[in-house]
């Protein structure tokens, strides 16, 4: 099996790996560079738990051929916090009980980050749309939507 060198930016830092033919980005992130934050859920693009940002846009890393990220910027949940300081979305997910088993959480966070980077004060409908490709089977979606609204500095449905 041949190996292909791939260089990309991971959470702002340069990263270089050799990838196997047909290896997907999720596998490279988890096994190649040790970033365990994106999760393997379904492997078929249905659940969204492997969502990462590529050049600022959400992509499903399980369906991304690893060598296609050559020269691009990849962001994962591991890059959200700044040192000990959690990202506003991470704080809001904790405050709003938006995680139980936590498996969908990295994908939800990255889908939400892409939204807030583009639309800092989204409507509730825009939040629902942004996470429409992400499945959660624990909390239901309302606490997650509340958390994203809270992270954007807007009232959640259950407060006020």
């Amino acid at each position: 099996m041949s190996k292909t060198p791939v260089q990309f930016s991971l959470n702002g830092s340069p990263s270089a790996v050799f990838v196997d033919d047909a290896q997907n980005l999720l596998d490279v992130l988890r096994r190649g560079v040790g970033d365990l934050s994106p999760k393997y859920g379904c492997g078929q693009g249905t659940c969204g738990s492997c969502t990462v940002l590529i050049d600022g846009e959400p992509h499903l890393s399980c369906l991304t051929l690893a060598e296609t990220v050559e020269g691009r910027a990849v962001e994962t949940t591991n890059g959200l916090a700044t040192g000990p300081q959690l990202h506003a979305l991470q704080e809001a997910f904790m405050e709003n009980f938006a995680a139980q088993c936590g498996y969908c959480t990295p994908g939800m966070l990255m889908a939400a980050k892409a939204l807030l980077d583009r639309t800092p004060r989204p409507s509730r409908e825009e939040v629902i749309e942004a996470i429409s490709g992400n499945i959660c089977r624990c909390t239901g979606y309302e606490p997650i939507i509340d958390a994203i609204m809270a992270a954007s500095g807007q009232p959640t449905r259950r407060t006020g």
């Binding site: 047909a22 369906l63 490709g133």
Partner: protein
């Protein structure tokens, strides 16, 4: 083991075809197969710079979509606002950042909702050898076609001449139980030259010629469309899958076509 060949041009990609070869568009269907050990794919060919084929441009009364344009590209372009509801019906945001026009044309049942819309909009395909072909012809021969799609040209409909509806079981982003696209040009209030296409009603998107004939000269009201609704079953032979039986799809097709034609079900 799956091998990868990276090429610079579409023509090089086409020249790398052969048994077991698949061409990478956005990867949403191909990589799923690879992840699950699809034995039909042993070689993937990809373009190093797919962005070169990712444009959207106006050409008179038509619009041209590059084969590597994504659903997100379509949603960002005001020139193809008539396709926004269709692109939005394809997966969630991450899928839409990846799924391409060319991949959608090749998507197997029950996928390919954009292809349904393009078929209704009289799509013509520019192929990697520079030739042009009708989309219906490609859909009929795509399993053996060796050329690749460079771009797709489609009619730019006016007003509410174009309508699209997708029915899913899993809201909001499930695969199609069925999808319908209708281009309904009118003269003096009467339909003239309608094109109706169905998705998830055959291995590929299909037109409904009997329905189209029944709509010719009709008005878009209950009386005008009755004959078309009665003839839907003549045009459809849908397969069974885990989402719905072929029988169910055929039973509900007239209901959804009625909603679409009366403007009650467009998305």
């Amino acid at each position: 083991m799956v091998t990868i060949t990276t090429v610079e041009t579409l023509q090089e990609a086409a020249a790398n075809g052969g048994q077991g070869t698949a061409f990478l568009g956005g990867g949403t269907l191909l990589m799923r197969g690879v992840n699950y050990g699809d034995q039909d794919v042993s070689h993937i060919v990809r373009l190093r710079q797919p962005q070169s084929l990712a444009g959207v441009s106006l050409e008179g009364e038509r619009v041209r979509l590059g084969a590597c344009a994504t659903m997100a590209t379509i949603l960002r372009s005001t020139d193809v606002a008539f396709l926004h509801a269709v692109a939005r019906a394809v997966g969630g945001p991450a899928i839409r950042n990846m799924a391409t026009v060319g991949g959608n044309v090749y998507a197997p049942h029950p996928y390919g909702d954009l292809a349904v819309a393009l078929l209704a909009l009289d799509a013509k395909l520019r192929m990697s050898d520079g030739s042009e072909m009708e989309m219906e012809r490609l859909l009929a021969t795509r399993d053996t076609e060796t050329r690749l799609i460079e771009s797709v040209s489609a009619v730019r409909p006016s007003g509410d001449d174009f309508r699209f509806l997708k029915v899913t079981r899993v809201k909001p982003r499930g695969a199609s139980v069925l999808s319908i696209a209708a281009w309904l040009p009118r003269r003096a209030g009467r339909i003239s030259g309608a094109r109706i296409a169905f998705g998830a009603m055959a291995p590929t998107p299909v037109r409904a010629p009997t329905v189209e004939a029944a709509l010719e000269g009709a008005s878009l009201d209950q009386n005008g469309i009755d004959r078309a609704l009665q003839s839907v079953a003549n045009d459809l032979n849908p397969p069974d899958d885990s989402l719905a039986s072929g029988w169910y799809r055929k039973e509900v097709a007239p209901v959804h076509l009625k909603r679409l034609l009366l403007g009650q079900g467009t998305r």
